[in-house]
């Protein structure tokens, strides 16, 4: 499983790191860890705009976003 740990990074680094992970592993699900609402919103928006579904799970120190490519 590909995991991006973007906790602690401020806008727009989580989005940049997620973009690189999606580009590097096309068609694969990606997990992104973030610790702020802004990062959660931005990464979710990016993933949806690229056709991924987003499942948000609240964890102890932020959010765990499961990005899954459409149709998988």
């Amino acid at each position: 499983m590909i995991e991006v740990d973007a906790r602690g990074f401020s806008c727009p680094i989580p989005v940049v790191k997620t973009t690189q992970a999606l580009d590097g592993h096309p068609g694969k699900p990606v997990i992104v860890l973030v610790d702020s609402e802004v990062a959660r919103e931005n990464v979710s928006r990016l993933a949806r705009s690229r056709g991924y579904s987003v499942k948000v799970e609240q964890v102890l120190d932020g959010y765990r976003l499961q990005l899954a490519p459409a149709g998988k």
Binding site: R7, G8, F9, S10, C11, P12, I13, V15, V16, T19, D35, S36, E37, V38, E41, R45, L46, R48, S49, D61
Partner: protein, 350 residues
Amino acid sequence: MAISSRIMIILAGLIFGALGSLLVEWGNPGNMGICVACFYRDIAGALGLHRVGVVQYIRPEIIGFVLGAFISAYGFREFRARGGSSPMVRFFLGAFVMIGALVFLGCPIRALLRLAGGDLNGITAVAGLILGAVIGILFLKQGFNLGRSSATKRANGWIMPVAMLALLLLAIFPPGFIFESEKGPGATHVALWIALLAGLGGGILVQRTRMCMVGGWRDLFLIKNTHLFGGIAGFFVGALLLNLILGHVSWGFEGQPVAHTNHLWNFLGMVLVGLGSVLLGGCPLRQTILSGEGDTDAGITVLGFFAGAAFAHNFLLASTPDGPTDFGQVAVIVGLVFAASVGFLMRDRT
């Protein structure tokens, strides 16, 4: 949900832009209803950090932005005390962003407000801002970041809001050591309570929508996403519409309020603002808002804005309506070299 947040940010931009126009109607300087850089510069002057008599006034709008963001962040459970992401670098980037803005004579917000008031020098400024943002994106793509912040004790996040409350007290009950302009832009202002309410409202709007006057351009080019740009577009349209209704539009380059027509240095000053803001993660307004949400790195950046404003006027770096100064031109070059070095040196090696 995506649609509603999209409409929200455009609406917030429209309202905020209209407010920028109305504040001029009610008494703020021309095309300066809201200017985050100019307002920090005025506060720095009021505190005696520089002694240019025409730009000294505690602008309650800034106080309102921070306190509005603080209230909103608390209300929506988004207040998180955090920090530790390259504070020294942020301080100097903040100072140079301020210097770049004062060479142009406006922050990214005022660039839009100037354009919406017919000041065509805003075109070169916005072009510079976009180029600066694009250069910043190149560094982002190379793995640039200022490092992780971490959660810190809650009281750290209260410092900036409490400092703003103290500033408010100084504005309401000014002791002898507070300077207040008797003429010039610093003497041109709306009533304190109007400015404070406008700031509070703006602070809440921007905190909720994450509006950012540099982030909008950045996302447009970096991830081809127009969400944040909606705030910029809304802001410009709102200001332009109100300016047209109120008769505040006068098209041209020459004779514009608190402006000069040196295109090269308007452009380069804003390249520095765009680049510095992308490296910092947001424009001066966004940094101001974040400093109210518990982000102490943004708080340090705000202190950098104050320092930059003081340097800009103590060292004759800030432009005047006659144009940029020699020292100002050197300072912009130094700032560009500093920002580019930061962008280059602070890459993750993978």
